[in-house]
């Protein structure tokens, strides 16, 4: 009797642990988060009031939030540009390597396995100990101190550290894309007298479109939601020059006693990411040769 019941409900029982964990720690959390964004809770007090959309209205008028969005946008654009161009160049170079290709690839992949915190701390030291001597030798005023201490260069420096780590995976994805191009096409192109650039433009590139989409979306999303690098390297400063939205949410929630406001900020981030994910699904359904 019990055996029969178990057999008939095996599939259902298989779904139970996942449903419980996912509902409690994911779905419920999303709903509670949205709910908090309509309150005035500071995160500590025992009670709070519902205040409708006033957090959102306040954000709309808050220059700090606008600045943070702008910084995040700049961060994402620099990250995407750096990651896409470098990983494509590296993939083309690595893919045409005959000797030691596996070995070279495994060196290029090392940054991807180390934690962002350790990488940030190492680069922090490099910025402090290597850049100022160079600046003094070349007598460039801006480089007398770590670029992280300079409001004008801090964001760029943080992005460089992020790029240093983030290039590895897209490079390998591009290599996989390059290896999907049938070699006969290159032969045909060569016989027809196509130049190196034209062979890239008309043969390689169309085959790369799916991988370009994958890498682009990964880079955009990680740029917009980035936290670890800026938090470890600068904490958002100097003068909020690296105050990306991830840091603003964290600080508003846990330092500035604006817990409900931080939830409203993250709901706005949610909308941005949801739209991007939707575009990603649309794009990956058509594009490319595959």
């Amino acid at each position: 009797m019990i055996g029969k019941f178990l057999e008939r409900s095996t599939y259902f029982l298989f779904t139970v642990p996942a449903i419980i964990l996912y509902t409690l720690f994911f779905a419920y959390a999303v709903i509670v988060g949205i709910q908090y964004s309509f309150t005035d809770w500071n995160g500590i007090s025992s009670s709070y009031n519902y205040v409708g959309f006033s957090n959102y209205v306040e954000l709309w008028n808050n220059p700090n939030f606008r600045d943070s969005l702008l910084v995040t946008g700049k961060y994402a654009v620099m990250l995407v540009a750096g990651v896409m161009s470098l990983s494509l160049i590296l993939a083309l170079s690595l893919n045409s390597l005959k000797k030691l290709q596996t070995f070279t690839k495994s060196i290029y992949f090392v940054p991807a396995i180390i934690s962002a915190v350790t990488i940030s701390l190492i680069w922090d030291q490099i910025f402090v100990r290597v850049i100022p001597p160079i600046g003094q030798a070349l007598n460039i005023m801006e480089l007398f101190q770590s670029p992280l201490a300079h409001p004008k260069y801090a964001l760029f420096a943080v992005v460089i550290v992020n790029i240093w780590q983030a290039v590895a995976l897209p490079t390998l994805i591009f290599i996989a894309g390059l290896q999907s191009v049938p070699s006969e096409l290159y032969e045909a192109g060569r016989i027809d007298g196509a130049s190196t650039f034209n062979r890239f433009r008309y043969i390689t590139f169309p085959f790369l479109i799916p991988t370009i989409t994958v890498n682009m979306v990964l880079a955009i999303k990680s740029g917009i939601t980035s936290f670890d690098y800026a938090y470890t390297l600068t904490g958002g400063g100097p003068i909020k020059s690296t105050n990306v939205i991830g840091i603003m949410i964290y600080n508003d929630a846990f330092q500035n006693l604006k817990f409900a406001m931080a939830n409203a900020e993250s709901v706005i981030l949610f909308i941005v990411i949801a739209v991007l994910s939707f575009i990603q699904i649309k794009l990956t359904r058509k594009g490319g040769v595959h």
Partner: protein, 281 residues
Amino acid sequence: MNVSIRKEGLGWRILRNIILLIGIIIILGPMYLVIINSFKTLEEAGKGFFSFPKALNFSNYAELLSKGNYWRVVWNTALITVGSVFIVLVINPTVSYAIARNRHKKYYKFLYLYILLGLFVPFQVIMLPLTKIMTNMNLLNPFGLILLYGALSLTRGVFLLVNYIEGMPTEIEEAARIDGCSTFQIYYLVTLRLIMPMLVTLIIMDSLWFWNDFMLPLLILNKAKEFWTLPLFQYNFKTEYSFNYTMAFTSYLMAMLPIIVIYAAGQKYIIAGLTEGAIKG
């Protein structure tokens, strides 16, 4: 492909090798600085930051390891990683198998969409409510963190596994059923073995995430020093070692060492797993 490579021009080959060499210097340069300076005294590093140490000085290592919390921190990180991977392996393949074999039924179709909706949600949205939920449930500890990782692994895991299982032929499962196997036996004896390649990919992606993650441990474990993981330990000692920077380098090296050793042993699988997961995800 090989034919075309052999005909690559000399100019491109030189340019390519220069690019790759510069890249390797940029990647290994910081590593080199970390290693050499970790063996120097502060005085020696002050004289020459880039030069090779005159003698291998292990005092930084002795000091770091004698403090005792390094081992504690490595143990915590390993425990959390292994525990979370265990949960991932219990809940991901079971629910994916149930969904993949019952997609025509409303309940499973809905469940699939319900879990995939997680793809649209950035971590920031759930992180604030999660801190409150975890506090209320008394789960600000490694066990709570492991449960969270299990829950958060589902979106990617179910997406990858359902696709993989649906692409598999069902003949072997049907043969097993005719031979009198129960659904659970089929899952355990047949399916689980057939989806091994994708499970390995998942284990690699998730372990690296759990081992290196900073944000969730920061939210869940930061208040209790005895629960710190490697990234948290590193972050919190940032200020302590800011003056004694050769000591800081030693701690960076020791924080990287476990994962580098694992990488050296299984780099082929790690690289393949992460690439495969990223392309299919």
